[in-house]
């Protein structure tokens, strides 16, 4: 191995550079285009870095379109989904790990089974059901659908985390006079924090990214979330590439920021169960 040290380093860094280009260059190009005045966007040969960077594309996006409304809707829906999913799946996972009852493992297995269904396979009855319940074209319909689709994964993830927390710790807190709620709040949840964070990221990314449910369940413009709203912008007229790339940057920023901030927890979560997509 020593003899081929130089060749090895060359292969590693060559491969690394290629991977860096594949992963990051398209995004770099998006940012670069979003900062170019329209003359430069269509210049031949294209410039890697804008000669006269401008925020004009962002200004047009924010003032001439409903982008901010879409943004607000996406934020409300995604964050509500995260909160609801965490509460429901933490309760369920606690029930599955701290109480023994007949059929417990069967229930857990059945929950995992629902994870195998892609949204497209149930979107039609789902749509009819939502109309029947009178919640078509509401944010509530979106929150409920995303929560349902994130639940199986989050429940299993939190179940694995709760199982790894020794019962003795909780019992010790109870002996010390804490009631059950306090024991869970101060002992169990802090220890399961990496799992809760991984579940939150998974849920946020799924809810923030979803296109199908938003396309089918939402019909009025003022309730549309980013993916559907921006797709409408894209289809509306002759494509304004500068503005579309600016929208891309603005949509990507929260997802990447959220992700980078808590990435190490996500890797743990990934190890525990995989991420659907």
């Amino acid at each position: 191995m020593r003899r081929t040290g130089a060749a090895r380093a060359a292969a590693l860094y060559g491969g690394g550079l290629a991977l860096l280009l594949v992963g990051a260059f398209p995004l770099f190009w998006m940012v670069s285009t979003s900062l170019k005045p329209s003359g430069e966007i269509f210049a031949t040969p294209p410039r890697l870095i804008p000669a006269h960077p401008t925020l004009e594309n962002f200004r047009r996006l924010l003032t001439d379109t409903s982008f901010l409304t879409f943004f607000k809707n996406s934020a409300i829906v995604s964050l509500t989904t995260v909160a609801l999913t965490l509460v429901v799946s933490a309760l369920g996972a606690y029930g599955l790990t701290r109480f023994s009852f007949a059929g417990r493992d069967k229930v857990a297995g059945l929950i995992l089974l629902t994870y195998m269904f892609a949204p497209i396979m149930i979107i039609i009855p789902f749509y009819i059901l939502v109309r029947l319940l009178g919640i078509a074209n509401t944010r509530l319909a979106l929150v409920l659908s995303y929560t349902t689709f994130c639940l199986p994964f989050c429940l299993w993830l939190l179940r694995a985390f709760f199982q790894s927390i020794p019962l003795e710790l909780e019992e010790a807190a109870l002996v010390d006079g804490a009631d059950r709620g306090r024991a869970v709040w101060y002992v169990v949840l802090p220890l399961a924090l990496p799992g809760l964070i991984a579940a939150a990221i998974f849920t946020f990314i799924l809810a923030y990214n979803d296109f199908l449910f938003a396309l089918v369940l939402i019909s009025s413009d003022e309730l549309k979330t980013l993916p559907v709203g921006v797709n409408d912008l894209f289809n509306a007229t002759i494509v304004d590439w500068g503005m579309i790339m600016a929208a891309g940057v603005m949509i990507t920023a929260p997802a990447v920021a959220f992700f980078v901030a808590v990435q190490r927890y996500l890797i743990q979560g990934w190890g525990a169960g995989g991420v659907k997509g």
Binding site: L12, M30, F117, P125
Partner: protein, 291 residues
């Protein structure tokens, strides 16, 4: 304290209500709906038995979307492995900047689909796209290619999808690579095994099971992928050259408003996946027995 069954069920109740009401019930309702003629939002419906299934058996559009779906899922899955496994092997080696690169590789997977598709449509734009510019200036092609026209739209879709989803393969494979005991490699190196032989005789057998799962999950998820495919071409024009089963089911239900037919397509998709998974498990287990 641990024998309290009622408390267990109560804690699970919200989750079970949501899953039962919004997943299990729709699945059953969907199967029933597929036996009916029903408008997507009018309430009238008539029982037609298996007529929709018989119709699709002779429907050219159905077989086309089945074919496109298999081509799409098969090629994207294979290319994700071709790109993802070497990337994971690379990121398992020790070198400076490795952690940064591990983060960067995840970018395509984290950005929303709408952004990935718009970005690649811009890169592949026939007149001003960077890809055509590079191909023409390096002399690979003489005239710019119409990447989003009918001849190349499937290529563009595959390219975009592979870029978007290969990080899943990287992360999953890397997680397994990190748990292979180093002693196995040391022993192989002492025996004079080359890098290729170490891969074939240590890495591959050790990662066999995770590869099995990756291939299964990625095939299922690519076969049922809706958003990337739909966003790539919408519903008109060239979209029929990439119309996979999920897109066809959507079109039947929400464009033609034939909910019963859409439901039948969903059932067919489900059965196809079930059969494919069963066959896959069988073949894999037989291989296991032979090895």
């Amino acid at each position: 304290m641990r024998k309290n069954a009622l408390a267990g069920w109560l804690l699970l109740a919200p989750a079970l209500a949501l899953l039962g009401g919004l997943v299990l019930f729709p699945i059953i309702y969907n199967a029933w709906l597929s036996l009916h003629d029903k408008h997507a939002f009018l309430t009238v419906q008539t029982f037609v038995g298996l007529r929709h299934y018989v119709y699709f058996a002779h429907d050219e559009e159905f077989w086309n979307s089945f074919y496109y779906g298999v081509v799409y899922a098969g090629s994207t899955m294979a290319l994700q492995l071709v790109l993802g496994i070497p990337a994971a092997l690379l990121l398992n080696e020790a070198f400076r900047g490795r952690n940064l690169l591990r983060g960067v590789v995840l970018f395509p997977y984290v950005i929303p689909t709408i952004v990935a598709v718009m970005l690649w449509k811009w890169l592949l734009n026939d007149s001003y796209g960077l890809v055509n510019h590079l191909l023409v200036t390096t002399g690979v092609v003489r005239v710019p290619l119409a990447w989003l026209g009918k001849d190349y739209i499937m290529w563009s879709l595959v390219l975009t999808s592979v870029w978007q989803f290969f990080p899943f393969v990287v992360v999953t494979y890397l997680a397994r690579l990190q748990t292979i005991p180093p002693e196995l490699y040391e022993a192989a190196t002492v025996d004079g095994a080359t890098a290729w032989r170490r891969f074939m005789h240590v890495t591959l057998p050790q990662t066999r099971n995770v590869l099995f799962v990756i291939v299964l999950l990625r095939s299922i998820w690519m076969f049922t992928k809706f958003d990337t495919v739909w966003l790539m071409a919408g519903e008109g024009g060239v979209s029929r050259y990439i119309r996979t089963l999920p897109v066809y089911a959507y079109a039947r239900s929400f464009t033609y408003l034939q909910a019963g037919m859409g439901a039948a397509l969903a059932v067919i998709m489900f059965v196809l996946l079930l059969v494919a998974t069963a066959v896959y498990f069988r073949v894999f287990r037989q291989e296991e027995a032979l090895a």
